[in-house]
Amino acid sequence: MSLEESRKKLTQMPEMSLARAEALPHSLCPGCGIGTILNTFLRAMHELEEEGKLDSSKLVVISGIGCSGRISGFVKTDSMHTTHGRPVAFATGVKLARPELNVWAFGGDADLFQIGLNHTLQAARRNIDIKVVMVNNFNIAMTGGVPTVTTPPKAITKYTPRGWFERSFNIPKLMASAGATYVARWTTAHVFQLKQTFKKMALRKGFSFLEVVSQCPVLFGRYNKFRDPWSMVDYFMKMSRVVKGPQYLEEAAIEFGKPILVGEFVETEAPEYTETIYEAEGVVRK
């Protein structure tokens, strides 16, 4: 079968209706969790469209730069592969300029919480209706496995043969403190929950944030005694503890050998920014 035929075969799978075949197969490493996130996202959006709840021509998928940032290129929607750390800034412009769009921003841990932290938190504060998905693969993968703000203490990387020595962020807690009205976390082992959460986020109004704990077998797993992709997924599965509610935020930091809290930490309501700003400024729409 030629590659062209394979691509065709892919798009003929109904649930893959939103896959951008010409850019596939993608160039992520074998067993990379980002692929699973892409997969479940495509399915979620497809299902919503099937259910008549979403018009995919109004979907905009924006991403930063990094392995995770590649996602936007694999989705057959209007999409924008932006600059490192800034997907949320671009997404804000898109949403504000055309509020009827359903706007997503995907990025890596470094993208959204190291170089781009500011934009992520300001969007949460504003409660703008953008759906932010952060791929936490515990490292800056694209540039060769550099530690980052989510790298667990003592983790080994090419840069820290004796173990990582900085403290890492408790991501859900930070997001909640910035004002996010929806904060969830799952891992790549939770494929159905991922799909459901994507669906929920698509339909929700206001700022929604999802952290997906994901395996980078090549640049993170390998250095930390995970011999193959599956062993990391398996670890996620075994270590996960499903919780619900803000009372779990305090313990939500991720450390090796400790439970990984997953589930919905925050789900609340506040006025949505796009609506507020049009109203408050009194923008006369022409």
């Binding site: 290129g73 209007d78 600059t83 412009g93 055309r98």
Partner: protein, 375 residues
């Protein structure tokens, strides 16, 4: 704003120019003197259908404007020195993704914070070379309040026409100065080309004859992928074939280089065959014009060459007139910036450089005197 004659500031005129051009999105992070424009936008924007977004920094201000542009808005932002430096990565991105976006820059004294409330012309080379990679932008240098209006309109039109970032580089003096400005009855407005074929047949980065591809709007079903990575005409990233890069970047630059005759604007004031030619733009050109009047009143053949577009630079045109002149005086509020472009087309021996690094007015007589012209 109603057509008519007003006594207003350059900031006001630029704001009116933006609205007359159909701007619908303005993002900014405050900085002097660009805040003067933000204030006008807050006052007049919303009732004219424009949304004002205060971003968390200049990086997001330009990022949001680029996003808004793809969502169909005519988007612009406004900043000054330090903020402009922070925007460079996104200027580079806008060029690569062929995003029409306008930037109004109120130039103040640098480097760094410098003297924040004083005018200068110290960021004009930065407009062309500030970001990484080869690209071309269109840059206007208004010299009075009327041009703040007119050239802002042109910046929007040319940004839309060629799908590039276009900038209005106004020294702070020109932003603040008040004088007569006429809002015309009719303003010519150019809008970006839209796809002429349905989504299935559309290739988003395939240029037409003018080297510019039509641009779809997010949400209209074209499902376009926009990326700062080198891409083919379908918009698919190609990171291993440098020839694809070569060709793409060449086209992005050639859009402007090959069409420069349609973009370049300048004024020649005075004699067509001047003995003395003064090169000046922005606020210092006002003094230079008086200097020309002065010289001519004493019987000297003299002319002012005033580029309205700094980029593309009117090099041919300057060369032609400069060839006739014995002396070319370059006047700038910096330590030699556009001077470099002049030196590419005028022999060094002919050129004298009269400058102040920042807001020190240079009276007409001083220009002539320091330029070595006896009247």
């Amino acid at each position: 704003m109603k057509p008519g004659k007003y006594f207003e500031s350059g900031a006001w005129a630029a704001a009116m120019g933006a609205l007359a051009s159909g701007a619908t999105f303005f993002s900014y992070y405050p900085i002097e003197p660009a805040t003067d424009i933000a204030e006008e936008m807050v006052r007049y924007g919303p009732k004219n259908g424009l949304l004002v977004f205060e971003a968390e920094d200049e990086i997001s201000a330009l990022g949001a404007a680029i996003g808004a542009s793809w969502a169909g808005a005519k988007a612009f932002t406004s900043t000054s020195g330090p903020g402009f430096s922070l925007m460079q990565e996104h200027v580079s991105y806008a060029a690569m993704t062929e995003t029409p976006v306008v930037l109004i820059n109120g130039m103040r004294e640098g480097p760094s914070t410098g003297q924040a409330t004083k005018a200068a012309q110290q960021d004009v080379m930065q407009t062309k070379w500030g970001g990484h990679g080869d690209y071309e932008v269109i840059v206007y240098a208004p010299y009075n309040t009327q041009e703040m209006f007119d050239l802002t309109v042109k910046a929007f039109n040319q940004a839309e026409r060629w799908r590039v970032p276009a900038m209005v580089m106004a020294d702070k003096m020109t932003i603040l100065l008040m004088e007569e400005v006429v809002i015309p009855e009719k303003v010519e407005v150019v809008n970006r080309k839209r796809p002429k074929v349905p989504p299935e047949q559309f290739e988003p980065f395939k240029p037409e004859e003018d080297l510019v591809p039509p641009m779809p709007r997010f949400g209209d079903g074209y499902r376009v992928h926009v990326t700062g990575v080198t891409h083919n005409e379908k918009g698919v990233p190609v990171s291993d074939d440098p020839w694809v890069h070569h060709k793409l970047v060449k086209r992005l630059c050639d859009k402007i280089r090959k069409n420069r005759d349609k973009i370049v604007e300048y004024e020649v004031f005075g004699d067509e065959d001047p003995e003395v030619l003064i090169f000046a733009y922005g606020f210092p050109a006002r003094s230079a014009k008086e200097a020309i009047k002065l010289a001519r009143s004493k019987g000297m053949k003299a002319a002012l060459f005033r580029p309205k577009t700094l980029w593309p630079f009117p090099d041919k045109e300057l060369k032609e007139i400069a060839t006739k002149a014995k002396k070319v005086i370059v006047v700038e509020w910096n330590y030699g910036q556009m001077l470099n472009e002049v030196l590419k087309v005028v022999p060094e021996e002919k050129v004298s450089f009269v400058y102040r690094i920042g807001e020190i007015p240079i009276p007409p007589e001083s220009i002539l005197e320091e330029g070595g012209v006896r009247i």
